[in-house]
């Protein structure tokens, strides 16, 4: 029996999604672009899914472009905006974005774009004023995550949306982690582009979406087909879209109850751990974050060791991001927030989600405390680092 506390990396497929996939497979397949009736049925399923996904962020369905996932959506938003606005050469972002944002920005930087990466405060919050200051008439794009994947900090985005509009810049919001966890309305944020990820919501991996307010202001990265309003050529992943639609409907239907439930569970987990582990610290703000995410600095241990030990005891959590070889690296987000390398190395992320139960939280807190003690005794983090980690 394992306890999965890594929903920010990807949620298990929800039962409602599984049922929708089975219903879909029982019908005949088809290509939504075909003229015949199989094609028409496929198209109806696709458009229903599109409407469900749009509903989640209070957008018009025709503004939703299906992609292969959050990474592709971020790439399309950034490269697509840069390509469509050749005259403007500045992009404003932050230092704590996901790698699927940071890597495209670095690539544009090496081809001559000026990239502004605003640093966060110690709580992971990016001062909206700092972003607004950086936006000028040369700015093609502002790109920010609504909720940080690693510490869960929610950013204040409305002032950014206003400033971007005034400057004529596009505003892209990566909502892969925020969607389903806080209410989102694209018009209130004033954003032009928004990334969504299917498997963070309980659909299988391989499906995502990009909200595009004005298709004319974005250039496609793949061409050779008229699908998705010409912004993403290629036959759609219909099965994925159906699954994504079912996940979005479920999230929407259960939103109030589920967010309250998860907030209570996360609070209880934090309280249990804080009581039993002297010196444990929550990275990120106490309030103003997605409630399911707990990024914790465990005193006196290496996060890498604790993560593996927990996995062997059936508790699955994460640390920063995995490198190509599969080793874990200290989180760039924590480092940007001003934590020392030692503190970052002692930190793990626990993220709860739809299948997390009361019993999971009780068992997980018992196991984490027990395993933390064993790791701290057997393999104490190097002395100077340990001292620093409990500071």
């Amino acid at each position: 029996m394992t306890i999965y506390l890594d929903h920010n990396a990807g949620a298990p497929v929800r039962p409602q999604v599984r049922a929708a996939i089975e219903r879909f497979l029982d019908d005949e397949g088809g290509n939504p672009s075909s003229v015949h009736r199989a094609g028409q049925r496929a198209r109806r399923a696709l458009e229903r899914a599109r409407a469900s996904v749009a509903r989640l962020i209070r957008a018009e369905p025709r503004r939703i472009v299906f992609t292969s996932g959050g990474t592709e959506s971020n790439n399309l938003a950034i490269f697509g905006a840069a390509k469509a606005h050749r005259a403007r050469r500045r992009i404003v972002s932050s230092a704590i974005e996901h790698s699927s944002v940071l890597a495209p920005l670095s690539e544009l930087e090496s081809s001559g774009f000026e990239i502004v990466r605003v640093m966060p405060g110690r709580d992971g919050r990016i001062a909206p004023g700092r972003i607004v200051e950086a936006i000028d008439r040369n700015t093609a794009l502002v790109t920010l995550a609504m909720a940080n994947a690693e510490v869960g900090t929610l950013q204040e985005l409305a002032p950014v949306g206003t400033a971007a509009r005034e400057a004529g810049a596009l505003f892209h919001v990566d909502a892969a982690q925020a969607a389903g966890r806080v209410r989102i309305a694209v018009d209130e944020l004033g954003c032009d582009l928004m990334t969504l990820s299917g498997h963070k919501l309980g659909a299988p991996a391989g499906i995502g979406a990009l909200y595009v307010r004005e298709p004319a202001r974005l250039a496609p990265l793949t061409v050779g087909g008229a699908q998705e309003g010409g912004l993403r050529a290629g036959t759609q992943n219909l099965l994925g879209a159906v699954a994504f639609g079912a996940a979005a409907e479920t999230v929407e239907r259960e939103f109030e109850r589920e967010t309250a439930r998860l907030a209570a569970l996360a609070e209880r987990l934090l309280a249990r751990l804080t009581d039993a582990i002297p010196g444990l610290r929550l990275n990120g703000p106490r309030a103003g974050r997605i409630a399911n995410t707990l990024n914790l600095a465990f005193p006196g241990v290496l996060g890498e060791s604790l993560l593996i030990a927990l996995d062997l005891e059936g508790v699955q959590v994460s640390m920063g991001s995995a490198c190509a070889a599969g080793a874990v690296e200290p989180s760039h987000v924590l480092l940007a927030m001003g934590l020392s390398a030692a503190e970052a190395r002692s930190s793990l992320r626990l993220s709860l989600g739809w299948n997390t139960t009361d019993e999971d939280v009780e068992r997980a807190s018992e196991i984490i405390v027990r395993v933390w003690r064993r790791v701290a005794e057997s393999e104490p983090a190097p002395r100077s680092e340990a001292a620093e980690a409990v500071r």
């Binding site: 060791s305 070889a325 057997s378």
Partner: protein
């Protein structure tokens, strides 16, 4: 709950088969590959700005997938840099010839990794070394040569004490290399025919001198003179770290008879060269000695066979301890190329009874 064993996996065939055999016997195997070496500048990994993409780790991971046990890559680069690489560089700078594999076993595999094993709730650490551990009727653990004498790696393991031996497993100790490869093929392991690694893992191109020069502060490089035993200057050299005892090439001199490095004098920076015959020594002094059998020298000097380099045959000698960690060794007949910094390992028959690091040769 079955016994949990942490297996150090390199991606090579030996550690893969070691892990697979333990898994077959029903143990709770946890595979671990260690990131040890720093990335080489300009490597593909660096250019792509990712941390690493070692094929070796992928080979190990595939074995774990095939044999169905958990596998993790752990990052021990800092420990390796401080405890192995720094020592390697300093030894060369001080005119000695280090053996980083011995150091890695002592500091990383059987120390640092063991604390990780305990943290993970493991009862044993296993590796793919060719050596055997036996437990006598008296309860004492004995470190033995491998059954395959051509692959025997017991030389690298002399630093293990009773505590380490009691919780270490060498599943390949009774097998030949050919048997290991055959077993790997039977098990369908993709790396069954993978060639052996030869070079020191963190010096990919094998150029130790250049590695030392890159790692060391310029003022620590010690140039000096190449002299003959009478003190006559034959040449200048650019750094003591470029020499090892018994070295013939790269001396920068053209003499009638072949000359070999006989001694490196760290105080003056002089490298003494001499004819082959003059390399022979009566004995040596070793420091940081570990007696695998703690009782070995209780009654004074003992007869042993000593290996002063991995690929050298063991030579008959008399061992006497001088305190707890220093030993004097006298060869039955003079031995060539006693090299400070190298390990000197004491055998009695097939048993490793101890070993230490060569501090200096005893002339005569």
């Amino acid at each position: 709950m079955s016994v949990r064993i942490l297996v150090a996996m390199s991606g090579g065939v030996d550690s893969s088969v070691a892990a697979a055999l333990l898994r077959e016997r029903g143990y709770d195997v946890v595979g671990v590959a260690m990131r040890l070496a720093p990335e080489a500048p300009g490597s593909i990994a660096r250019r792509r700005a990712t941390c690493c993409s070692h094929d070796d780790f992928e080979d190990a991971r595939r074995v774990a997938e095939r044999m169905n046990f958990p596998f993790y890559v752990v990052d021990l680069r800092e420990d390796f840099a401080v405890r192995v690489i720094r020592n390697f560089v300093n030894e060369y700078l001080d005119g000695r010839t280090p053996n980083p594999c011995v150091m890695c076993n002592r500091e990383i595999k059987f120390d640092r990794l063991w604390s990780r094993a305990r943290a993970l709730g493991a009862d044993f650490v296993a590796t793919g070394h060719y050596a055997r551990i036996e437990r006598g009727a008296d309860g004492r653990y004995r470190l033995m040569r491998a059954a395959d004498s051509t692959k025997d790696q017991s030389y690298f393991l002399f630093t293990l004490g009773q505590a380490e031996l009691s919780r270490t497993l060498f599943p390949l100790g009774a097998m030949t290399k050919a048997e290991v490869r055959a077993r790997a093929r039977e098990l369908g392991l993709a790396n069954a025919d993978k060639p052996e690694s030869q070079e020191i893992c963190f010096v990919a191109d094998g150029d130790y001198a250049r590695f030392v020069e890159r790692a060391a502060a310029r003022e620590r490089i010690r140039p000096g003179r190449v002299v003959d035993p009478q003190g006559k200057v034959l040449a200048k050299h650019a750094g003591m770290h470029r020499f090892t005892i018994g070295q013939r090439r790269g001396l920068g001199i053209a003499a009638g008879e072949p000359l070999y490095v006989r001694e490196i004098r760290p105080e003056s920076g002089d490298v003494v060269v001499a004819s082959r015959e003059a390399l022979r020594c009566a004995g040596l002094v070793a420091n940081r000695v570990n007696l695998v059998d703690p009782e070995l020298c209780r009654d004074g000097a003992v007869e042993v066979e000593a290996k002063i380099r991995y690929r050298h045959p063991a030579l008959p000698a008399v061992l006497s301890m001088d305190g707890a960690e220093r030993a004097e060794l006298r060869f039955r007949s003079p031995a060539p190329a006693v090299t400070p910094g190298q390990a000197c390992v004491f055998y009695r028959g097939d048993e490793v009874v101890g070993g230490g690091f060569i501090e200096r040769a005893i002339e005569g």
